[in-house]
């Protein structure tokens, strides 16, 4: 059970954060189809940062003496760098969509096409191949928190699930998710941002700078997707970047729509998807209640069925819920002050 929850979180957290990135952009009135592209870029930047810092030997020393605090700091820095560069990358979309009033779908698609090409090009230049790896070792032995590191010796459900074999990034992401959700709903800034996505002319008439708010929306979106990309690469791909994130950006878009542009629903949708993704890969060794019976294995269904499940479930739930789903009204429409 502890294993299932841990693994589900690992799949769900990048989805959740990147879906929230989509929410911020769309709530401000910009459709951000480029989530995938920004994730790819963010993953590359984060991995490159880890690779370089390892190469320079800055944190070798910290690992030698077992200074886990320093290692985690290093991880946070990688997250921050990928978020910052993700934000910069998203400015391309913001500029095209806000200043040039270009079609946002096309702008987003352009970034999605550009990101893998650019990333692969850079990796080839730096590394002579298509994959950027850590300079040394693997992500689990460098960055994973285990209970013995934290000085915990006991063993119960809570410790095994949330304090053993976890990445700090998971909790940072959950925290960021909560804080930003509160900001979106409970602060003046959040209200203004949302108003720009519903009725920008009304917002403008009340003195809100719509273009500025939309820039904020896209930049937050870019930072979150960049960070999400790195978290994905670190926790599920052993800190490697290869110009793809297995379609997690598009899945995040689906999760956003699935979650009806609302943070709580998105968290639920991401967890559901993550759970089935996890079951698909590990059903063979899942023992939910710890009695030594591997139920899913013993049913004897084909593994293809389990691999189908996450997508099947998403389709089914979307079919039932999409009727009541409601996108921000002004999302996708360039703001033209004279078009009232």
């Amino acid at each position: 059970m502890a294993f299932l929850i841990r693994q589900t979180l690992i799949y769900a957290v990048p989805l959740m954060v990147v879906a929230l990135a989509g929410v911020f952009a769309e709530r401000s009135g910009i459709i951000n189809l480029a989530l995938e592209g920004i994730m790819i870029f963010g993953a590359f930047i984060g991995v490159l940062f880890v690779h370089l810092v390892q190469k320079w030997g800055w944190f070798e020393a910290a690992k030698e003496v077992g200074n886990w605090g320093a290692m985690q700091l290093f991880l946070l820095m990688a997250m921050a760098v990928s978020a910052a560069l993700g934000m910069v990358f998203s400015l391309l979309l913001a500029f095209a969509a806000i200043n040039l009033r270009a079609d946002q779908t096309i702008g987003g698609t352009a970034l999605n096409l550009m990101a893998p090409a650019l990333v692969l090009f850079l990796i080839r230049v730096i590394n002579n191949q298509n994959t950027m790896q850590m300079f040394k070792g693997d992500s689990a032995s460098w960055f994973m928190l285990k209970k013995k590191m934290l000085g915990i010796t006991g063993s119960n459900f809570f410790i095994d699930t949330f304090l053993n074999k976890v990445y700090l990034t998971t909790y940072i992401c959950v925290l960021v998710f909560i804080v930003l959700s509160v900001i979106l709903y409970k602060t003046r800034f959040g209200l203004r941002l949302r108003s720009c996505g519903e009725n920008p002319h009304a917002a403008d008439s009340l003195g809100i700078n719509v273009l500025k708010m939309r820039y904020h929306g896209v930049m937050i979106s870019g930072a979150l997707s960049g960070m999400g990309g790195f978290v994905y690469a670190m926790t599920t791909a052993n800190c490697t970047a290869n110009g793809e994130v297995a379609g997690f950006g598009f899945l995040a878009l689906a999760v956003m729509i699935f979650g009806n542009w609302k943070p709580l629903n998105i968290a639920g949708a991401a967890l559901l998807f993550g759970l089935f993704k996890c079951i698909a890969a590990s059903y063979y060794s899942l023992d939910i209640n710890g009695d030594g019976v591997y139920l899913l294995k013993e049913i004897g269904l084909s593994s293809n069925f389990y691999r189908l499940l996450p997508y099947l479930i998403t389709l089914i739930v979307l079919a039932f819920t999409s009727k009541s789903s409601r996108a921000p009204k002004a999302a996708g429409i360039p703001y033209d002050i004279g078009s009232r």
Partner: protein
């Protein structure tokens, strides 16, 4: 004085020759991967199939052999990777081979069984270029004859798989996993896996215990790391599997991440992978680099005919399969015991079956085999 000098020079030359006769490719990782030749042509070419150049294993090992020969003999060298990464098609591989030939390659080393179709076409077309087909088989040209400009190199992977499996059980592991690449269609990986299972069986029978073996080709079809593979292996470790044989290039990444998470172990493949992760307990070695070096040397020494067409099959007797003894980390099972076994295999006293069709739970008496599919 002059005489002394000439004697010295002759001595140096002779010494130099003996040194270069032995394929020593240690330290080849430090040779630059890219070089610029004066006339823009590259005599020695290396072409990958789907995996990455720097996979810390199969491709990297072969490439090191090519680089070593080139560096020692002052030849120009270049690597070519087909377009579309792990989705590369036969056309992509043909284009890569053609690019190598157009780039002036005299000897092109093509690594991986997937090159078959592309190489058949290319070798028939470019008869003046010599191709070394690692993990390959004799190729027939359009005229119905075996092409003499292709030298396939095959290894007895079942031997090093056997050594690794045997060593693990002797070391005390009782729950073991195997993750192979190529989806069960790659003969080399199948031989590795079958040998591994036989080794486990033999050691378990000697010790009188039954060993669990999870055997899987899942998530390995393209020889790449994936979140699904990591989760699956994570689940194995969580359920008591102590060590997994990561038999498929970059799949190593996912498996070693899962192993580090659970403080468990990994067996590397093709080259000594203990430098890449602390979780590596041993590696099933096959001398891909040495084989590439050897084949290239045959060409430049004028002995290409010895390996043309039918190629070579390398095993323990040629020093091409084994376990790395310099980085030995096992405590209970010792280097001496391993070397005795190696000697037995070389002497032919111990034969490992290479027909992987025979793999079954019934045939392995002391192994509880679960095929995960």
């Amino acid at each position: 004085m002059k005489k002394l000098l000439s004697v010295l020079i002759v001595l140096m030359l002779v010494l130099g020759l003996t040194v270069t006769c032995v394929a020593d490719i240690a330290g080849a990782d430090d040779i630059e991967d890219t070089m610029t030749s004066a006339d823009g042509t590259y005599e020695l070419a290396f072409i990958t199939d789907v995996g990455q150049l720097k996979d810390k294993s199969f491709n990297q090992g072969t490439w090191n052999g090519v680089k070593s020969y080139a560096a020692e003999h002052g030849l120009s060298y270049k690597y070519y990777q087909p377009a579309n990464g792990d989705q590369a098609t036969d056309d992509d591989r043909y284009d890569a081979i053609k690019a190598a030939v157009d780039g002036g390659a005299k000897v092109a080393v093509c690594a991986g069984y997937m090159q078959g179709a592309a190489l058949t076409k290319a070798a028939d077309e470019f008869k003046d270029t010599m191709f070394v087909f690692i993990d390959g088989w004799p190729l027939t040209g359009a005229d119905g004859n075996i092409m003499s400009n292709v030298a396939p190199v095959v290894f007895k992977e079942e031997q090093c798989g056997y050594f690794a499996g045997y060593a693990l059980v002797k070391e005390g592991f009782e729950k073991i996993g195997f993750c192979g690449g190529g989806g069960g269609t790659n003969p080399a990986c199948c031989r590795y896996g079958y040998g591994f299972a036989q080794g486990i069986d033999a050691a378990a029978a000697e010790l009188g215990k039954t060993v669990d073996l999870n055997y899987s080709w899942l998530y390995g079809a393209t020889f790449s790391a994936s979140p699904e593979l990591q989760t699956m292996v994570n689940g194995w470790y969580e359920n008591g599997i102590e060590v997994v044989f990561a038999c498929g290039g970059p799949m190593f990444d996912s498996i070693t991440a899962a192993a580090a998470e659970n403080d468990c172990f990994v067996v590397g493949v093709d080259s000594d992978q203990s430098y890449d992760s602390d979780t590596v307990v041993t590696s099933a070695l096959k001398g891909v680099g040495e084989a590439a070096y050897l084949a290239i040397a045959k060409y430049y020494d004028g002995n290409w005919d010895e390996i043309a067409g039918t190629g070579i099959n390398l095993g323990a007797a040629e020093g091409a399969t084994g376990l790395p003894t310099e980085t030995w980390s096992m405590q209970t099972y010792t280097v001496e015991e391993y070397e005795d076994m190696l000697a037995a295999v070389i002497a032919g006293e111990l034969a490992v079956d290479d027909n992987y069709e025979n793999l079954s739970d019934e045939a392995l008496e002391s192994v509880n085999l679960s095929i995960v599919e």
